[in-house]
């Protein structure tokens, strides 16, 4: 089903990836009677109230107990069920990390983890509620697929495509404010592990994920007016990384900017740098968070504080072209 065809799409999910994920949970459950949602007191965070009322036997409420929730998910998966664990990114990646590593990744169970409030979506809440190391953690789990959708509709397609995976998957989602649509409404071109070419360009490449894709596109469009060709890749899948797209960008543009709402170590920028350092050393700039706990404040202001912006991407492109 196309996202826009879902009767509840416009009302529930168009502009919030966490709700799009919740809607996709219902769609996956409709398609496959083995699908079961697990909540860690996250029913409303994921918009699952309607699903719970319609299918009370398909949602397990684990309470505020992520370790147990993760273990339950792994155990369910061993029996042939398709658990989808809906958690908060800052908690599900750290509180239950050993369960995630041992029971899910090491045992290679088909568990899909939806992680709402990734990055500094909860910037006002303080460092306990920020998830700016989650991609580094997840990317270091063998067997794990790691996805950061650029918007709600990409979230929908990513969630539905997890049906095809044989191992665990982590999908990082946003929070309770609007995320501008970035990707094509058709969305059918989405493939796990294949970067979206958002803008062509031959001078410099911006490889972005999540909420940095829109600023990257805006930067590219503005720079196009000054005669600078900026290629923009939406690297929604952090792992497995689209090596071909990265290596082609390096070969064809000779300069790479990465942009992510994550510390600059270990996430998207780290993945790109590790690949290029070995295969094709290329000049790079990394847009992301520094090695410190982030300040508190409104998310938009905190993002600007750390240079997660069109301006910072533009400046990085200029720096590489200078």
């Amino acid at each position: 089903m196309n996202d826009a065809q879902h009767p509840e799409w416009e009302r529930l999910a168009e502009k919030q990836s966490r709700l799009a994920f919740g809607l996709a949970v219902g769609e996956l459950a409709r398609r496959d009677d083995k699908v079961v949602a697990i909540s860690a007191d996250t029913i409303d965070l994921f918009g699952l109230r309607g699903f719970l009322e319609a299918s009370p036997d398909r949602l397990i409420e684990a309470g505020i107990a992520e370790q147990n929730a993760m273990g339950i998910a792994a155990g369910l998966a061993t029996t042939g069920m398709r658990p989808i664990l809906c958690g908060y990114a800052p908690f599900i990646t750290t509180r239950s990390l050993e369960q995630l590593r041992n029971d899910v990744a090491y045992a290679n169970q088909r568990v899909v983890i939806g992680a709402a409030c990734g990055g500094i979506v909860l910037a006002m809440a303080g460092g306990t509620h920020h998830a700016v190391e989650d991609l580094a953690i997840m990317r270091n789990m063998p067997n794990m697929t790691v996805i950061v959708p650029a918007d709600a509709r990409q979230t929908w397609h990513a969630a539905l495509q997890t049906e095809q995976l044989d191992g665990p998957c982590y999908i990082r989602l946003g929070g309770k404010f609007e995320e501008p649509p970035v990707t094509d409404i058709a969305g059918d071109g989405f493939r796990i592990g294949r970067a979206d070419l958002m803008r062509p360009g031959g001078d410099v490449t911006v490889i972005a994920c999540g909420c940095l894709v829109a600023p990257a596109i805006a930067a590219a469009d503005a720079l196009a007016g000054t005669g600078i060709g900026v290629r923009v890749l939406n690297m929604h899948t952090i792992k497995p990384l689209d090596r071909d797209a990265v290596l082609a960008a390096a070969a064809e543009t000779g300069a790479i900017v990465t942009a992510e709402e994550h510390r600059t170590s270990g996430g998207l920028g780290g993945a790109v740098a590790e690949l290029l350092a070995q295969e094709q050393p290329t000049r790079m700039r990394m847009i992301g968070m520094p090695d410190e706990f982030a300040i508190v404040g409104p998310t938009a202001k905190v993002r600007a504080h750390y240079g997660l912006s069109q301006q910072a991407i533009t400046d990085a492109c200029h720096a590489l072209l200078a």
Partner: protein, 277 residues
């Protein structure tokens, strides 16, 4: 003349003796290992695998099989010895404990036939078993799930999350069996971080509890035959055991939680255990 029950018990005691002897054999091959907690669990494992659990060793992935999770994964030598005796793996695997590229490491690996979950990190098995029990209920299957817990691992808070949830969900198809040998790596639980009053704790968490002597094969069989202990609650069997059971110099000592097994130690241990034939 022995009754059928007595003959059954004698057979299971022989199974347990084989398991213990093979624990020592595996540890000797590896040079060292977790003897204490493997030997304390041997009678329980024998009763589970050769009396209680419905399994098909020649079809280890049979969907209807009962599930067993060794949450105290450091007793993997005993699990391997049990799986070999049950026919899941070749006897020769027992000589590959800790060996290069072996499927038989210190802790269970889900890739080994008969192993339901990779364990070793403590405090994981109950939640995983809970998920298996839920999977049975959601799919209308009648398989049962048993999780063997160590006592030291009950220090991990995740167990109590699982205990709370299993009772809340009314999972009578889930049984926990505690190998309560009362000794952890560095000393006695009672001195390090006491679990007592333990039966009251599990009862308060909503489980039905039965306490047994974990080396009294008749009591073990009777407890397993009584499962589920209640129609709408998970069951906890607290089995009081002796760490290192069966070999005098290794019994009831934290030094034998994980220790070296030399040629001399092996021969003394096997001599004390006796020949099953």
């Amino acid at each position: 003349m022995t009754s059928n029950f007595e003959a059954k018990i004698q057979g299971l005691q022989t199974d347990a003796l084989h398991i213990r002897r093979n624990v020592w054999r595996a540890l000797h091959g590896a040079g060292s290992g977790h003897m204490g907690g493997s030997s304390s669990a041997a009678d329980l494992l024998a009763a589970l695998y050769f009396h209680h659990l419905r399994l098909r060793p020649d079809e280890p992935d049979w969907l209807g099989r009962d599930r067993f999770v060794l949450s105290k994964g450091h007793a993997n030598a005993a699990l391997g010895a049990t799986l070999a005796r049950a026919g899941f793996i070749d006897d020769g695997v027992l000589d590959q404990f800790y060996a290069y590229q072996s499927s038989f490491g210190m802790h269970p690996d889900i890739k080994m036939p008969g192993v339901e979950m990779s364990t070793g990190g403590l405090g994981h098995g109950l939640s995983v078993g809970l998920g298996m029990a839920l999977g049975a209920r959601m799919q209308g299957m009648d398989f049962r799930t048993c999780v063997m817990l160590g006592d030291g691992e009950l220090h991990e808070g995740s167990n109590w999350e699982g205990a709370m949830a299993a009772a809340h969900l009314g999972l009578s198809n889930l049984t926990a069996i505690l190998d309560y040998n009362k000794i952890q790596q560095s000393g006695r639980l009672g001195e390090m971080l006491d679990l007592e009053p333990l039966a009251q704790k599990w009862t308060a968490f909503g489980w039905v509890v039965r306490e047994i002597d974990g080396h009294d094969m008749g009591a073990i069989v009777e407890a397993l035959d009584a499962l589920p202990l209640a129609p709408d609650k998970p069951s906890m069997i607290i089995a009081h055991t002796v760490k290192g059971k069966g070999v005098s110099f290794a019994e009831d000592s934290y030094l034998w939680h994980n220790n070296a097994v030399t040629d001399e130690v092996l021969s003394r241990a096997l001599e004390q255990l006796g020949d099953p034939e």
